[in-house]
């Protein structure tokens, strides 16, 4: 742990992807495009981000679809490497929660809990102790030995969240995790956890379209727009700014 309690640090972080578009037409055209690289395109998903997240902080990330939010999460976790000149570091164990990912559909809830927990560094003996708590938190008592492929999205989300909470990840990164799932009861329980997380000194990075959660819990919010950081500040400040950018964007789209 560094002295200044910074757990995630991004310095001059940019991320450019090179992709090849599919070429339509005959074989000659295709081979020429392949050889010359004429169908190559560079996409700057994230541009020059500087950001520090402190231990115990709740950071919200907002922005329109395709503005680079998910890429930014991947850069934070170190799964993506930033372009030359930028550095990204993360300190502590983390788990990234996103919908549809994170579990193996061929495995039962029990097997997934043990696998994910173990990979996160929790000993099996400890998982034995916490197993019931995890199942109860996720309210999946009737589905312990059911394969995940039969689970609904909401059930998966509950399980992932329960594992993240009980495996005691230092940092929880949520990528539009609650988007459209979880009933009011589950939301209320996750709210409880958000509050407790501060007490335990856990760090949360929350990418969301749910302004209510961001407004209520975030210490700071980052606004991304087309890969650039448009502002970092208090929820009220940034959410106003966000509404404005959306308005401007809608207007400019109408003009086009």
């Amino acid at each position: 742990m560094s002295e200044d309690n910074v757990v995630i640090r991004l310095e001059n972080v940019s991320k450019t992807f090179t992709i090849r578009d599919k070429v339509s037409g005959n074989l000659l055209k295709k081979s020429w495009a392949f050889a010359s690289g004429g169908n190559k395109r560079r996409i700057e998903a994230v541009k020059n981000i500087n950001l520090e997240v402190k231990k115990g902080e709740f950071l919200g990330i907002v922005g329109a679809n395709g503005c680079g939010k998910s890429t930014l999460i991947h850069l934070m976790t170190g799964v993506y490497k930033p372009d030359k000149g930028g550095t990204a570091s993360i300190d502590g164990t983390y788990i990234r929660l996103s919908l549809g990912l994170g579990f193996n559909g061929q495995l039962t809830a029990r097997e997934n809990i043990y696998l994910n927990g173990s990979v996160m560094g929790v000993k099996i003996s400890e998982l034995n102790k916490n197993f019931r708590k995890i199942i109860e938190f996720a309210e999946l008592q009737k589905f312990v030995n059911t394969k995940l492929k039969y689970f609904s999205r909401g059930m998966r989300a509950r399980l992932a969240f329960a594992v993240a909470v009980h495996a005691e990840a230092d940092i929880i990164l949520m990528d539009e995790f609650f988007g459209g799932v979880g009933d009011e009861r589950f939301k209320a329980r996750s709210d409880e956890i958000f509050q407790k997380a501060f007490v335990n000194g856990r760090t949360i990075v929350h990418v969301s379209h749910n302004m209510r959660t961001i407004k209520q819990y975030a210490d700071r919010v980052v606004l991304l727009h087309e890969g650039e950081c448009r502002g970092i500040g208090s929820p009220d400040e940034i959410l106003d700014l966000y509404r404005e950018t959306i308005k401007v964007r809608r207007l400019s789209m109408r003009e086009e």
């Binding site: 992807f17 991947h74 976790t77 170190g78 799964v79 993506y80 490497k81 993360i90 164990t93 983390y94 788990i95 990234r96 929660l97 996103s98 990912l101 994170g102 579990f103 193996n104 061929q106 495995l107 097997e111 043990y114 696998l115 994910n116 173990s118 990979v119 996160m120 560094g121 929790v122 000993k123 099996i124």
Partner: protein
């Protein structure tokens, strides 16, 4: 310098639950392989036996049985081969099949490769025990030279780990590597002394004994388990150097290119 070395040694010695985790990953994968079939793990016994039976019947016709105990000859070679084939093919897929963990949780990414190598070891050990049981049943002598056998298992695991890591790296730039690797496997299947007597191949192409990292392992392991002979120690040393070099290249390339590998999936 000293600090860097200490850090490197630290990553080799397992911290907290690392061994437990690798074993759990391996065990779970083994279960998944068979969980969707009705017979389940029984397939791990039935499949290799059936395969060997088919080869035995077919090749006994072709080669007029110029090798004594031909069934055991094939079995001893093919269990090495099946491990090699399954482990390298599994290793090539591992980033894709373990993406759900690699992307979401912080852990040593090499662990998924270790576990992939271990998963196939379970099946391999099943084959070895079936082989030994059949030797006992048919009255072939098992000698104390069997204690050398683990030398070849470890050699084989090093080789497969190295090749898996190299193939995963190539996969970043060449998507067709899995098809190409199938072809390489097909070729290797026929230039290794699995069905043929080793003299048949290596009298014609002596270089193949050294150019192909699997040949020495098959020959030596067969001598030890089936014939009760000492292994050719020069060949053992040579194969270890070869597998070690391949593994070193694999680890180096994996560390350098892993990020690109996961981005492109």
């Amino acid at each position: 310098m000293a600090q860097g070395l200490a850090a490197r040694i630290y990553t080799i010695i397992p911290e907290n639950n690392r061994l437990e985790r690798i074993w759990l990953l391996a065990k779970t994968d083994f279960k998944i392989q068979y969980s969707s079939s009705a017979l389940g793990v029984i397939w791990a016994f039935v499949y290799p036996l059936m395969r060997i039976l088919i080869y035995y019947v077919v090749f006994s016709f072709v080669f007029a049985k110029d090798i004594p105990n031909y069934g055991f000859y094939i079995f001893s070679g093919i269990m090495i081969w099946m491990y090699f084939q399954e482990a390298t093919k599994g290793g090539l897929k591992v980033i894709r099949s373990k993406r759900y963990l690699l992307e979401n949780i912080r852990f040593n990414k090499l662990d998924v490769y270790y576990s992939s190598i271990l998963t196939n070891l379970i099946g391999f050990l099943v084959n070895i025990s079936v082989f030994l049981a059949m030797m006992i049943i048919t009255g072939l002598p098992i000698t104390w030279k069997l204690i050398y056998y683990p030398i070849f298992i470890i050699n084989l695991m090093m080789l497969c780990l190295g090749i898996s890591l190299i193939l995963s790296t190539i996969n970043v730039y060449l998507k067709d590597i899995s098809q190409l690797w199938e072809l390489v496997l097909l070729l290797m299947f026929w230039i290794n002394p699995i069905f043929f007597a080793k003299q048949k191949i290596f009298n014609m192409f002596p270089a193949l004994l050294y150019a192909n990292p699997l040949a020495g392992i098959i020959i030596n392991s067969r001598d030890v388990i089936m014939y009760g002979k000492d292994p050719d120690w020069f060949l053992v040393g040579y194969n270890y150097v070869l597998a070690g070099s391949i593994l070193a290249i694999g680890v180096w390339s994996f560390n350098k290119f892993f990020h690109k590998a996961i981005e492109k999936i």
